[in-house]
């Protein structure tokens, strides 16, 4: 960029681990940063994970540090429930329109919880991938940032809504809040909109919608989380019992020209982690991992070795061709074991589909994209984290740190 950028502000779109990291790294180099997130809280996908591979540590630990960094850094402005609705201009001088959806709770909220006490109806809990319900006035989760409640739109205009409003001693409930929009002038945009799990209903041969005990890997994370729908116990959705036989199916959508043509990179290791959850909770339980190739790079190979050393885990090189419903409604995984030529039909208490990653949001017009929807642009709008391709957490942060530098370079005056 020859001429000076008109604005020195960096806009980071997406408040997951990628966006948070990009925002902090840039701000700690002195840049003014605006961070917007469409959900009611920062944290994105990682906030909903129980543990990280290979350390089996908790994502909230790193988030806590990053939130502290944000809280103490006046250069970062955070907007939640906000999305980019338009970008015009060019590198160095963008005008961005941001649209917010109503939270019905103002910043005056002290997170005391009186509104939740007043709420009577329940809504599906998005944080738990709708595996459980929450009160219609709720804190997104105990590590939410900002630590602020949200009132579900369903109670607006109802007597319950009024009761909720009345319950708030600081008058932070505003049921008249409307969707709003404002514009920002920024010099560079970091696009860190992350990923969404591939829709398991598209894998019709696996009967996700039909068989209760067929779940996805992201749902498994919630089941294993202390603040999840089962308080950390891995249980069969069908009957709430402990599973004795569990199947983990790799490449559920990934590496498949009918679905996702690319490899999602993380699923193999995530499944080893899931095997560990099960084996930790139920030492007697058997876990079968169905795979095409096990992809455990660099030192992650050590994590694979650990899993292989566990006699309770069986490795079956096979892409299961279908899941049938057994006589008692249990999932029966069918396919061919390619190393033994056996054609199998194995019944399980629980089947976890390792669904892959899909880019979750279209980048703004003009930002270069690859055929899979990942951002590859290197001018003005910079991709960060999984918006640039399937990455694990440390690679996302690596990518976000690089994006932060691109932004810092772009807004240099």
């Amino acid at each position: 960029m020859s001429d000076k950028p008109k604005s020195q502000t960096v806009l980071v779109v997406g408040g997951g681990i990628g966006g948070i990291s990009a925002a902090l790294e840039a701000a700690e180099c002195g840049s003014e940063v605006v961070l917007i997130e469409k959900a009611p809280t920062l944290g994105g996908r990682v906030a909903a994970l129980n543990r990280y591979f290979p350390k089996m540590c908790h994502p909230t630990c790193g988030l806590e540090i990053n939130y502290q960094r944000i809280k103490k850094n006046p250069r970062i402005k955070v907007f939640t429930m906000a999305e980019v609705s338009g970008i015009s201009g060019a590198a160095g001088d963008y005008t961005v329109t941001v649209t917010t959806t109503p939270r019905f709770v103002t910043p005056a909220c002290t997170a005391c919880g009186d509104c939740a006490t007043a709420a009577t109806s329940e809504v599906a809990d998005p944080f738990n991938y709708n595996l459980s319900k929450v009160k219609a006035a709720y804190l997104p989760h105990s590590m939410a940032f900002p630590m602020r409640y949200i009132v579900d739109a369903s109670v607006v205009g109802t007597p319950e809504g009024q009761a909720i409003k009345a319950a708030c001693k600081v008058g932070a409930v505003d049921l008249d809040e409307k969707s709003d929009s404002f514009t920002l002038s920024v010099g560079a945009v970091v696009w860190a909109t992350g990923w969404r799990p591939y829709d398991p209903n598209k894998l019709t041969m696996y009967r996700y919608d039909e068989i209760a005990d067929v779940i996805t890997n992201v749902e498994m994370e919630r089941l294993a989380s202390h603040d999840g729908p089962t308080h950390g116990k891995v249980l069969r959705p069908s009957n709430g019992e402990a599973p004795k036989k569990v199947a983990l199916i790799q490449c559920a959508g990934s590496r498949d020209l009918n679905h996702l043509a690319y490899c999602s990179r993380i699923c193999c290791l995530a499944s080893m982690k899931h095997a560990a959850y099960v084996r930790e909770q139920y030492p007697e339980a058997e876990v079968d991992i169905y795979y095409i190739d096990i992809r455990a790079h660099d030192k992650l190979e050590a994590f694979y070795r650990k899993a292989k050393a566990d006699q309770g885990i069986r490795w079956i090189k096979s892409k299961p061709s279908r899941i049938e419903k057994g006589p008692n409604g249990e999932p029966v995984v069918c396919g061919e074991n390619t190393l033994s030529r056996d054609v199998y039909a194995n019944a399980y208490d629980l089947v976890v589909l390792a669904t892959g990653m899909q880019a979750s949001a279209q980048p703004p017009a003009g930002a270069e994209m690859d055929e899979y929807g990942f951002v590859v642009s290197e001018e003005g709008v910079f991709g960060a984290g999984v918006a640039t391709g399937p990455l694990d957490v440390s690679m996302s942060v690596q990518s976000a740190t690089a994006a932060a530098l691109r932004a810092v370079q772009a807004v240099r005056s």
Binding site: C61, S142, G232, R255, A302, D370, R406
Partner: protein, 741 residues
Amino acid sequence: MEKKIGAYLCSGCGIGEALDVKALEGVVSKEFKKPVKSHECLCGEAGLAVIKADMEAGDVTLPVIGACSPRVMTDRFMLPGMTPIRANLREQVIWSHPAGDEDTQMMAEDNMRMMMTMATKVNQPVPFTEGEFSTTILVVGGGYAGLTAASEASKAGHDVLLVEKKAALGGNAAGYASIVPSKPPYHDPQPNPLPKLIEGVNATKSIRVITGATVAKTSGMPGKFEVELSDGSTHTVGAIILATGFRPYDATKLSHLGYGASPDIVTNVEMEAKLKAGKVTTKAGSSPKAVAFIQCAGSRDPNHLPYCSSVCCSVSLKQAIELTKADPETMVYVIYEEMRTPGTTEEFYRSAQEAGVIFMKGKATKVENGSGITVTVADELLQQDVPLGPLDMVVLATGMVPNSTDPDAPAQEYGAELLTADINPYPAEGDYKPEPSVPPGGPLLNLQYRQGPHLPMLADGFSDSHYICFPYETRRTGIYACGPVRRPMDMGEVHEDAMGAVLKSIQVIRNAAQGHAVHPRVGDLSYPKINLNACTKCRRCTVECPFGAIDENEKDYPVVNPTRCRRCGTCMGACPVRTISFDNYTVEMLSSMVKAVNIPDEDEEKPRILVIACENDAYPALDMAGIAKHQYSPFIRILPVRCLGSMSLLLISDALSSGYDGVILMGCKPGDDYQCHFVKGSAMAKERLSKISETLKSMQLEVERVTMVDASIADGARLPKVIDELVAKIDAVGPNPFKGF
């Protein structure tokens, strides 16, 4: 400016209902003789106005706020002047204990006492900003990673000193005919970006390139590194990027795969050279009609390299594609165990299949060289041994060995704690018991640090971070590794990684010059100050610092390098004579906070247990216990610390001698896969604690009174149970005889 303390109590969020706020006010006004005000919503506009008014009037310079956890409303209570001190009355008192209960009230009052005491002890920190700070970035290694770092750093406005050992720039990448695609189109090999990059670097004035030189010596600290090169020249730089790349695994160790048996059995590096030369021919001079690639040649093999070198699969795909391009009739085989083409590289895999490359899953069990080469493959998909041959060439896909040492430099003593088990990502598993491996060679930077000349590395020899959320975490502040010396990675990732390292360098330069700490205590202005008059030269601080921030001078006295320091306080906790302190964090301060608590008499049957909690994980976990309304014993008193590493044993004896019945230490998991944010703070605390029994014996106290528990941030539900159990256990031992002394 004179420090004026004023307390503000919030009665909102149920505090007013659960506690006797008037009584709390009494604690401040009567016991501390300080002004105190309460409000029904301190964090609201009106509430904040009350505090601001007093501060603007000059009546108060340091507010003590008794309200919610310091983890929330941080921005709103960020007032001009000294950072307010927060007493956690909500999450850790009324949300986790019964309302209107005598013990709950006592807990709240003690919280106020502790925080009021803290207020009297803290001072506004004076940052370290002495002397000149350099903004130049030293890049060590002139390969693709180093060149990228240099060029990106200059684009960000920094002067760069690029040092390359060889006579010419380029490193390994100079030998690449083409590269694996990391940007679309993902289908075909892409041109090597190196030549253009070198051109650019040479043409950039702000980049000074010195080839044929290595780093002889490095001393100093971020913003003030003093670097001496092998050519005798000396330079002052602000930050250092280590981009020394990798060396291919020594193929002579792969005789079992036929290396050396025939000139037509080559490594992927040798094959790349042939491709670059433009024509691949066998020793006999003919172009090969049948070529086999053997994957994992050395990698993923406990006898050679325990890790996966990540790039070998896609490199073989690339070379296979190039071979079929040169001659579509050539039969190319790839013998693999796991085909590892993550992300969009999967498309590159399909591309090689389209080119007709044959993939055989199995192990190459024998490589024989007779009339043509024959590789015996234990083909797992056909479940039979396949004699693959005659082949004209065999390519061994050898892996990466990090240049975390200089193979040509004489080996040097490591520094005792460098490769301790707590950074071993390869804990023994079943038959697999790896030794930490240091690539042969000497130090690259030859750090003149008390803790040794090397940049610390993980047990597999890579100079990588152990943190998932913080890949650029370094145990030598201001020195950042990038590229294959950090982790096996392909060119595309190297580019990203180099940029990341540049960002971190710019960041440390900027923060060092302002006297700010870098991650995780970003912006902390305090740093350890040592009163040498009291120092016993015991060297604990210089050995225990997780970041090697403290050296020793010729008289063996400790010398702090403030910009290396990360403010965890491990040195403070290590010092047996309380002679290390921060402006706003001292053993004396913590000790008086402990003593500020009222210890009821034995007959009141109200034990007091001190909980020393790491403020990064244990403290938030206790907050979350409160948010979830989990209840636990009101007999504990929580003392937050920067890191358990900053806990001095003296704190424990102080607590016990002043009548506490027990002490619980809550810190992050040490050892393998440690979770301490300061690498080994909690490990140090654990080690110190192993010596507590003597102290207790000398005081004739039971060992049960002191326990350390690993606490993670996700333990909100678990900690209340742990606390209640330990309280019961300590209670069972009986009251502390020192009560009332």
